[in-house]
């Protein structure tokens, strides 16, 4: 059995160890990605409000 295989087997605890670390990793990668989306949306919204108020001033 290769060293890599031994590593992934985690002494028979593979499901539990990788189930824990895997879900934690997914969540801790997903959250910053969601935050990036939220930031883009917020920037767009401010820009839109700014355009609208600038147009109002001109009228």
């Amino acid at each position: 059995m290769s060293a890599l295989q031994t590593f992934f087997e985690m002494g028979g605890y593979a499901l539990y160890v990788w189930g824990s670390f895997g879900v934690t990793a997914v969540l801790m990668i997903a959250e910053p990605l969601m935050l990036r989306g939220r930031r883009k949306a917020a920037l767009k919204r401010v820009a839109r409000v700014a355009r609208m108020s600038a147009a109002e001033v001109k009228q």
Partner: protein
Amino acid sequence: MSSRLINWFKFSSPATFYPLTGRLQPWFTWSAVLLIAVGLYLSFFVAPTDYKQGEGYRIIFVHVPAAWMSMFIYMVMAFWSALGLVFNTRLSAMMTQALAPTGAMFTFVALWTGAFWGKPMWGTWWVWDARLTSELILLFLYIGYIALTSAIEDTRRADRAGAILVLVGVVNIPIIYYSVEWWNTLHQGSTINFRKESSMTTVMLYAMLIMALGFWAYTFATAFSRVRSIILERERNSSWAQQLVNEGRA
């Protein structure tokens, strides 16, 4: 005399807090990446196999830091809530809101990894014992706070109601912390104890502390990122926010 004191209220203005967090955020992001990378390396390649739990014990390196963060973030939210209620600063509620989703995420991770640790070691995914139940209540507090503040239309009222909810729920934190001492539970006692020698080898302890520091930096980075979006959303009508966005400096 007074000129030597820092005027903390200056930072309670979103217009000054926004650029400050913008400068700090990359530092916390890169610290988090670095610390978690080192922490994972120590967790899997340096820390020895446990003599009782074999390789299964390695779950501790995410479980304990996540559980610490779940309680710590709630305490910080309580601090901001109290500050907001006393001084009526708008930023306090924004910080509380920025922390809540990350706190909920770590609480979920603590419960999830706890279940995945409990199954092979105790033979069950879940028991209704004091530690697990009080941690589940913490998750409900986070979700309750998020639901309550997003359900109330008026921002000021939402902020106040949220702050009161957070402060009422704070009684749960010492209950979680001391639950393993006050009740007979299936959950083991604290791994790090200041009154007696730690029950871990030094390298295991360091791996856990470095992971905890990484999670701590991650929390700062995400909370700062989220508070910046919240500030933009709320201050969209103010000229300073519009100016920053239009000039590409936001």
